[in-house]
Amino acid sequence: MASSGSGYDLSASTFSPDGRIFQVEYASKAVNNAGTALGLKCRNGVVLCVEKPLLNKMLLPNSNRRIHTVDTHSGIAITGFVSDGRQIVNRAREECSNYEETYGTKVPPTVLGDRLAAYVHYFTLHGSLRPFGATALLASYDTETKEHCLQMIEPSGVSYKYFGCAAGKGRQPAKTELEKLDINKPDRGENIDVREGVKQLARIIHLLHEEGKDKPFELEMSWLCEESGWEHKGVPRDLIKEAVEWAKKDIAEAEESESEEDDDDDDDEEMNE
């Protein structure tokens, strides 16, 4: 739905007559043009995943990171303007080290998320500044209550906790796929396991990626789970490779079974005649 700002969209400090701040909405549009980022809170950990379109054949593989470790117990995945995202990551690192210096413990996830949201929001209040064109997916672990947590901070400055979240180009179909997974059961013990989560996220990214249309891409994944000692680390390369192979196989099988179903329908029609 293209809505023209016409005069009320020149600065973040101007409301439109119908109560919107267009600059903030345009910032979200900037995020929606970028590669998809997914986050999944599993039973025993959090997985983050970013699809990095390879814009240039000369790019060194595995450089140009999108997922950053902010403290031993926290990590952020960025999508949107990568340079804007770096500012958010740097601020998060300062907040973490500051908190630990003052209070002697790792910053609780809620506090970190709220502080980052407040920081991002600050830039939506001034006429001389522009909002961040980046969304941050924050995975972190509370060392005192022993609980892991996934939050998403959007350019408007809102921050919510999620079981599963998606941002970027493919977020709509990604959200549909995420809802199909077992991540929000009332009995948390039944929810998806982290290794399964890695495979499912790889599958979703590959599902969304259309061969001819989109550029070739790199997959960057990280996790924060029991297996990683509750430290934010990159998912081991061989595990990603396994997950991608499984994902491609699973997608191919799903397509085959769809085309088989079509054949069955034809047989039924002949019988009825």
Partner: protein, 234 residues
């Protein structure tokens, strides 16, 4: 001190002269109140027992013989104060303020470790201007009962039991021999009372009554033992 009769001396030598005053009292400004004191805190199975004497002195004059040297920092976090009364009161006020702000921001009970770190930051960053030795003790859901000793200078060490103040030097041997791990509430209270009485008997800057606070998950229990009912002493 008669300045007229003294030879000019290098700074280092001046610093070591003590005229018989204790380490805690010689750096006080004239007229400043000292809590030259005995304080201790011992964690037990479900909480912590904190104890202190009650004498506040200016030189040889006892300014207050029933003072309260055990201050509350938060619901279940307490602090024993020794050194300059003014300095320790200011420090406890700051830490109390920061802890209450933190509790609101995080939405949870602050830990004893956090309180100790805040106190340590203040003591260390301002070590030139302060003379304060504190013991932080309390109960929190993460570590249960714990005790942190923050002596002059601003180190912060978690300890199985902590002693502080001028009177503590006289009772290290006693506490070392009587302390056992895994003591219950009553046993720990008795140990604290006994040790402080012994210190009060020998240290001129400690005396008055013994004040104790027992901190558990359920709450805090304040007690005091009047001077004529001390377990040991003249």
């Amino acid at each position: 001190m008669n300045y007229m009769n003294q030879q000019p001396q290098p700074y280092a030598q001046q610093a070591y002269q003590h005229d018989g005053k204790s380490a805690e009292t010689r750096n006080l400004k004239p007229g400043e109140l000292s809590t030259g004191t005995t304080i201790m805190a011992i964690p037990f199975k479900n909480g912590v027992v904190l104890g202190a004497d009650s004498r506040v002195s200016t030189g040889t004059y006892v300014a207050n013989r029933v003072s309260d040297k055990v201050a509350q920092l938060h619901d279940h976090i307490w602090c024993c104060r020794s050194g300059s009364a003014a300095d320790t009161q200011a420090l406890t006020d700051y830490v109390r303020h920061y802890l209450s702000q933190l509790a609101i921001e995080t939405g949870r009970v602050p830990t004893v470790k956090t309180a100790a770190h805040l106190m340590r930051r203040l003591c260390y960053e301002n070590k030139d201007k302060l003379m304060a030795g504190v013991i932080i003790g309390g109960w929190d859901p993460v570590e249960k009962g714990s005790v942190y000793n923050i002596p002059l200078g601003g180190t912060c060490i978690k300890m199985p039991f902590a002693l502080g103040g001028s009177g503590s030097t006289y009772i290290y041997g006693l506490v070392d021999s009587l302390y056992k791990e895994g003591m219950g509430e009553e046993e720990t209270k008795l140990l604290v009372k006994k040790a402080i009485s012994h210190a009060m008997a020998r240290d001129g800057s400690s005396g008055g009554i013994i004040r104790t606070v027992v901190v558990t998950e359920a709450g805090n229990e304040r007690e005091y033992i009047p001077g004529n009912e001390l377990p040991f002493g003249p």
